[in-house]
Amino acid sequence: MADKTDVWQGTLALMVLKTLEALGPLHGYGIARRIEQTSGDLLSLNYGTLYPALLKLEQEGAIASEWGVSDNNRKAKFYKLTRAGKKQIEQETRNWEQTTAILARFFASRKELA
């Protein structure tokens, strides 16, 4: 538990989008839980930080929200991907892969030097 990492700046939005892509419409609590589970409980997520991130994505048009009823019969606000959101995932995925690939080269070159 002591090794838990904070969520890196700017990555939360992508995690939210990927989560919604995988699971379909989901409420805020569900998204938060899912992110923690996916990370293998290695990420420490303050649930409160999720709301501004969700609202920002909604303002940008990547996701849409709607009130609905949860599995255990409670009212909740459900988020789902929009078409623009799907496009955004594609683009951000490419960006991410590119970034990690670049970074990977740095790690590789360090190994070579060692």
């Binding site: 409420h27 805020g28 609590y29 569900g30 938060a32 839980r33 303050n46 649930y47 409160g48 930080t49 709301y51 501004p52 609202l55 920002k56 909604e58 303002q59 940008e60 048009g61 990547a62 949860s70 255990n72 409670r74 009212k75 909740a76 606000k77 623009a84």
Partner: protein, 880 residues
């Protein structure tokens, strides 16, 4: 793209919408509940489940706030909230708010209204092509007239010989007779040389420009109409072109109409622009100066180069024509100077006055704000104690400042608009016609920008004035001190400095108003050499075709005198070719018989008058005699001269019996038969010039002024005079019937309106400055109530308390007055050009200003001092 979308989403979030708040709270609550359910399912107690969920969330309120911040722009939202709070605060303090807004509005109203005049007269570009390259062209006679008219032959030579002008033309405004269906009518016309409008770079909106050569005698006569006469007389009809008007008995064809915004102030009002057709005796004589020149400088030619070139030409002509051009130099003036040169110093003085008033008003509001901040120290201390950041507290002041300035500006600009209307309404219509650029007066973008600049300046001043006086640490300290002790220190430090500024500014304005008032007084009490009361003057123009020959004109004169003297109430009548206290006047040259003559310019104004003229206007004959009714051109020529004439040409000699030889006909001498006391022929502020009076019967004219000395009401006589003259010949035109007093009062118009406006500014400044001082002293007394109580309890006398308070006030007043007097001397120096008969260092004016201000300021501080002295020490000690 998506950032833009998010921006608009947040912008709409700014709109007040409580549903969104509820919605967000519900969402957080719902998710929290799901989390709690989960926790309970894992076996926690409900309390623990809730606590854990809350921990994980990171607190309910911070989450709501972060969520909300994303929904809108937090900074804007704060500002809007601050504004609402500010409005509530200001409404609670209606007295303060109304005073502050009114003061600011007053300052803005004065400065914006005056600036609008400055804008219309001085800043708005002239309606010509590239107006900066245009110059007025003049001949110059050292000392006599720096900007004299050109003669037509001189103009032709200058035009041919110069190498510096790409175009050079002349204009000459004249009264024309216009024949209409209902008889003759006076028309405003200007004769111009053919290229006049091309030089200005102006094309008619209808029809064509004058063609080259169209101003020659052989060419058919043509006219271009002003836009306004086109509208008035022809209803703006397009078929006006080719129609004919009868101007001075010549059929003249209309060939064009000028643009609506065209104006040419030096020759306005002009309805008919006709061509030179130089044919009169004056046009052809080199020594008769009747034209003004306007020229466009060639590209790359500087003003100085051009001046040197025309000066050289004038020098050549002087050698070539020593008889007429002796001492005739040349001069140029930028056209903008020609057009608005006379009003510039006046407008700038007014603008300076209005801006000083604005300064006082702004300072007054600033000091009011300081007092208010002082009295809100506790509130501020509590707010800062509860966690308000310095930025939030400053934001509150900024919001209040913005609300005040917003209200003040709207009120100020609106009242400035009305003030402009009122001010133009006060200008006589004749004057308004000669200042056509004032048509552009209004809330133009430049004027609004000026108002915006003032508002910005005021907003900065009012937002940050309260905050300079306090730092947050100081506020905290205040909290522990409570309201006792040193509160009011900042106020006394800063506020008293502001009051000194106010008092000094008020002194400057008062001194300016005093000097202008003195000028006006001197102007109105100038020695006229005539008695203006019960004197009526009417302008008469008879058609040249019927009355230009001497016997015709003399017969007309006799008939006019006979008809008009039959009007009841008319005691005596006189005719002159020029009215006293007015501009126009012809001049003549002469040699003195029996003295050598080297071609020097004995250039003297002359007036042709009837025998009873001097008696009628109330002039004083010093020596010799008046003219006789029988002295016509068959008798020896005679003249009467004024005192200045004698001083200049016959100092220490007997003028009577001396003989003059006019240059126009040197063979026939004119004998001086009388000497009158100087009559003010020119405007009130002009120097009296040597003047010659000739008998009307020896120098007739079809354009003259009829003077009537009346008993009883003057105004009723004017229409009767017109009617009597029309009975003789309906073709004769009569104009501008008015009393001599009216004419004199018009001559003092500029000085009067300046004195009144600046006087008004000064009065307001005095009032505001004294109110400001009263505020300072009263506040200081209220802050020192306890101290005064202690002093009195320890045995201080009432007089000691008076001394204590008045010493403070006296120091401020003395400082303000001394500073103000020093500034006034500098400021008055700048307006010396518009003063008449007083110098900028007029000691009596400055001394009386100092006395007036000191007395009113002392009186204002006496009121709080009296309140302090009548304190009951016991109650004072108990206070707070």
């Amino acid at each position: 793209m998506k950032t833009l979308r998010a921006f608009f989403a947040r912008l709409t979030g700014l709109l007040p919408n409580s549903r969104n708040d509820v919605d967000r709270a519900a969402e957080i609550e719902a998710n929290l509940q799901l989390h709690i359910d989960d926790n309970i399912r894992q076996g926690m107690t409900p309390e623990r489940a809730r606590r854990e969920a809350m921990l994980k969330l990171g607190g309910l309120e911070p989450t709501k706030e972060a969520y909300r911040d994303q929904a809108t722009f937090p900074l804007f939202e704060n500002l809007i909230r601050d504004m609402r709070f500010a409005v509530r605060q200001l409404r609670k303090n209606a007295g303060f708010t109304i005073t502050a807004v009114l003061m600011l509005a007053l300052g803005m109203c004065a400065s914006v209204a005056i600036f609008a005049f400055v804008d219309a007269a001085l800043l708005k570009p002239l309606p010509y092509k590239d107006p900066k390259r245009l110059v007025g062209v003049y001949e110059k006679l050292e000392k006599v007239c720096p900007l004299c008219n050109l003669s037509y032959p001189d103009f032709l030579d200058w035009k041919r010989q110069n190498t510096v002008f790409s175009a050079f033309d002349v204009y000459n405004r004249q009264g024309f007779m216009l024949k209409t269906a209902s008889g003759s009518q006076r028309a405003f016309a200007t004769r111009v040389s053919d290229g006049f409008f091309r030089t200005l770079g102006v094309s008619p909106i209808l029809g064509r420009n004058f063609r080259a050569g169209e101003d020659q005698l052989a060419a058919p006569r043509t006219v271009i109409l002003s836009y306004s006469v086109w509208q008035r007389s022809y209803g703006g009809a397009a078929d006006v072109l080719g129609k004919s008007v009868i101007l001075n008995d010549d059929a003249t064809v209309i060939i064009g109409v000028l643009p609506r915004d065209f104006h040419f102030a030096p020759s306005e009002p002009t309805d008919y622009w006709v061509t030179m057709h130089a044919s009169s005796e004056c046009d052809l004589r080199r020594s008769c100066h009747s034209l003004y020149g306007v020229a466009r400088l060639k590209d790359g030619v500087s003003f100085q180069t051009a001046l040197a070139d025309v000066t050289e030409i004038a020098g050549r002509l002087e050698k070539q024509y020593p008889g007429s051009n002796k001492e005739q130099g040349a001069n140029l003036s930028p056209l903008s100077e020609v057009i608005s040169g006379t009003v510039r110093p006046i407008l700038l003085v007014l603008l300076a006055g209005a801006c000083l008033l604005l300064l006082i008003a702004a300072v007054n509001v600033a000091s009011l704000l300081l007092v208010r901040t002082e009295s809100r120290m506790r509130e501020l201390a509590i707010r800062s104690g509860l966690g308000a950041s310095a930025a939030r507290i400053t934001g509150q002041f900024v919001a209040e400042g913005l609300v005040l300035v917003g209200m003040g500006s709207v009120l100020g600009v609106a009242s400035a608009y009305w003030t402009m209307q009122i001010l133009t309404g006060l200008i006589s219509s004749d004057m308004l016609l000669s200042m056509p650029y004032l048509n552009g007066l209004g809330l133009t973008p430049r004027v609004l920008a000026f108002a915006g600049l003032i508002a910005l300046f005021a907003a900065v001043l009012f937002s940050f004035t309260p905050t300079v006086s306090l730092s947050l640490s100081e506020i905290r300290q205040r909290l522990s001190e409570g309201s006792r002790g040193s509160s009011g220190n900042t106020w006394r430090r800063l506020g008293s400095k502001l009051v000194v500024v106010e008092l000094a500014t008020a002194v400057v304005l008062l001194a300016g108003a005093g000097l202008l008032g003195q000028s006006l007084y001197r102007l109105l009490t100038v020695k006229l050499g005539l008695q203006p009361d019960h004197l009526v003057v009417i302008n008469v123009a008879a058609p040249n075709t019927r009355y230009s020959k001497d016997p015709q004109a003399i017969e007309l004169e006799r008939k006019v005198i006979a008809e008009v003297s039959a009007i009841p109430g008319v005691n005596s009548l006189g005719i002159a070719t020029k009215s006293p206290v007015s501009y126009q006047g012809n001049t003549t040259w002469f040699k003195i018989a029996g003295r050598p003559w080297y071609g020097e310019h004995n250039d003297t104004p002359f007036v042709c008058v009837t025998p009873d003229y001097f008696k009628t206007i109330g002039a004083t004959l010093l020596r010799g005699r008046y003219f006789n009714e029988s002295e016509d051109s068959t008798k020896p020529l005679v003249a009467i001269v004024n005192q200045t004439f004698v001083r200049q040409f016959f100092p220490n000699e007997e003028p009577l019996g001396k003989r003059l030889l006019p240059l126009s006909d040197p063979a026939v001498p004119t004998e001086i038969v009388g000497l009158v006391e100087d009559i003010k022929e020119g405007p009130l502020d002009s120097e009296t010039r040597p003047t010659l009076y000739y008998p009307f019967t020896q120098n007739t004219d079809t354009y003259f002024f009829l003077f009537a000395r009346t008993t009883g009401a003057e105004s009723s006589v004017v229409p009767a005079m017109s009617a009597a003259i029309h009975k003789i010949d309906p073709e004769i035109v009569t104009m501008r019937g008015q009393t001599m007093s009216e004419q004199i009062s018009q001559s003092a118009y500029i000085h009067r309106s300046l004195a009144l406006l600046v006087g008004g500014f000064a009065g307001l400044a005095l009032l505001l400055g004294v109110i400001g001082l009263y505020g300072v002293i009263a506040y200081s007394v209220s802050q020192r109530t306890r101290e005064i109580g202690v002093r009195m309890a320890l045995g201080a006398e009432r007089t000691n308390v008076y001394r204590l308070i008045l010493k403070d006030a006296g120091g401020l007043i003395a400082f303000g007055v001394v500073l103000g007097i020093l500034c006034s001397i500098g400021a008055a120096h700048l307006m010396e050009s518009i003063l008449f008969g007083v110098t900028s260092r007029d000691v009596p004016t400055l001394a009386s200003v100092a006395v007036i201000l000191s007395c009113s300021a002392l009186l204002a501080s006496f009121i709080p001092a009296r309140r302090a002295a009548s304190l009951n020490p016991v109650e004072a000690l108990r206070a707070e």
